[in-house]
Amino acid sequence: MGLKIDLETCIGCGACVSACPFGALSQRADAKVEVNEACTACGACIEVCPVGALSMEVVEKKEAAGSLDAYRGVWVFAEQRGGKLQEVAFELLGEGRVLADKLGVELCAVLLGHGVKSCAATLFEHGADKIYVVDHPALAVYTAEPYAEAMSALIRKHKPEVVLAGATSIGRGFIARVAIQVKTGLTADCTELDVDADKRLLLQTRPAFGGNIMACIICPDHRPQMATVRPKVFKHPSPVAGRSGALVEEKLDLKDPAVKVLEIVNAMQNEVNVAGAEFIVTGGRGMGAPENFKLLAELAEALGGAAVGASRAAVDAGWISSFHQVGQTGKTVRPKIYIACGVSGQIQHLVGMNSSDTIIAINKDPDAPIFGVADIGIVGDLFHVVPELIKALKR
């Protein structure tokens, strides 16, 4: 099992050692290669070996393909908070529709909550053929355990082949438990999905290594194939007014929630949230000090109510709260205009904003990586350029 090294063939060139993203390969005293426990079986080394000394040995699963055939349909977790469907639910319906059509199956939405049936109509209009609703007091406010219990029960009963959830604090919080409970694979935070219609495989592509590499992942021998999907990478589909489908209400006997919600505090109540904003003005390390974010707030106002974002460097420096963070460990955004001020453009940041429609970068350093993704780059001191920009917008 795992990576197999043919030592007879290995010429000790070391090409695979530097190709391994996980540092799992090293050269022995005789220059030949050995593999350690850090190997994730990603296969990056196999492609670079000039002599074909590396191969992946996988034990074929005995579970007959027939048992997998019992699973059909694409499911989307319709995330809601306080009875309000979250944007990511619509994005998943849009992408789920495409996948379901390629597989020739139904697209189903799973709606968990208490008193949330009114959400159904809009889910149909956005592409769902069928909706499974579990209406239960234990699901009134999200906590991971009852959500996982309900989802697992539905999966066991109806056997979907694909299950998608948003890579949000809710989606990522409970779906990992579901994967353990139904014993299947789960791929986190995907940014691209496709299907191999012949093999009925979901091709799940996601950034790893802080966004430095992309990995394509499959789940060949287990069903359903589950993935969380990063918000904002798929577009909100156009609704079809009056479109309808089957509403299936499931009665489940759920355990009392282990976790009690005492209070929910919305810290972004009085601020424009970067997550859904059409205009974002982001500050990075170049902001220099917390008080300088006032300048960005002014620019945001001049743009007619833009959201203020921040790079990890600015958040780590304590200049602004983490709710404003854009990037790999923050939020992914897709605004019409993204203005990056004093942001160098580390890959961690770029993966969170590079699908914005128009990217404008203002930075002193002409070699800053941010200019590599910017549609319009302005080389200059943000403290000189931004005030002029505010003036020009007000004219």
Binding site: A19, N36, E37, A38, A144, I180, A188, P207, I218, G372
Partner: protein
Amino acid sequence: MHIVVCAKQVPNTTQVRINPETNTLVRDGVESILNPFDENALEMALQLKEKHPGTKITVLTMGPPQAAEILKEAVGRGADAVVLLCDRAFAGSDTWATSYALSIAIGKLEKPDLVLFGKQAIDGDTAQVGPGVADWLGIPCIAYARKVEIADGQATVERTYEDGYEKLEVALPCALTVVKEANVPRMASLRGKMAAKKLNIVPLTAEASGADPAHLGLNASPTRVVKIFSPPPKTGGVKWQGEDPAAMAQKLVDLLRERKLV
């Protein structure tokens, strides 16, 4: 109280660069570190220990023999015991198999009151192992915790979400995954470092852990990586340089208005 902190040794991904000619990862000179979010989890445990004397902290990792380094770092900061789960049989584990293996190792320890994880590892970024282990252990898990207080066998937890935070209450034992804003991790103390140097870490093998061999490593992992590639290099648009800031600002606003963006 017994707190188990699960940690991972990761490459410092902020140091990783892409070779623009070959479009492949440049790993040279990239150091291996204790996953930064796991540092926050460990710090949360250490602060709880300061508030609740008599608390024992065990740090558990699964990885190659070199991963003992992060366990030594943890002891340097004040962890009381460490476990290195290390065996070729674990190689290629995805989050499903990793969660299983960690849960088995935890099952061999004194029953924990609290199991802490970083919110995610910076190499894989999955955020799945914490909730996964909790499920194997059959305990509740609160993901993205930034604050915890323990009293009378209950944990009061602040859990962050996209727009703010929730205040939650749960009976112990439970698991938490910890976000960065929870704390500023301390650095190892001199006496801690000295103790860590003397530490002889005996790896816990798959067989000794009592894990079911059918649940381990690549073969037990439902997911497969079929391809790894570098994201296509982005090419930028226009770049204005060396002009008067006011002129560049006006030019930008004119352009945005022309495209009807503002």
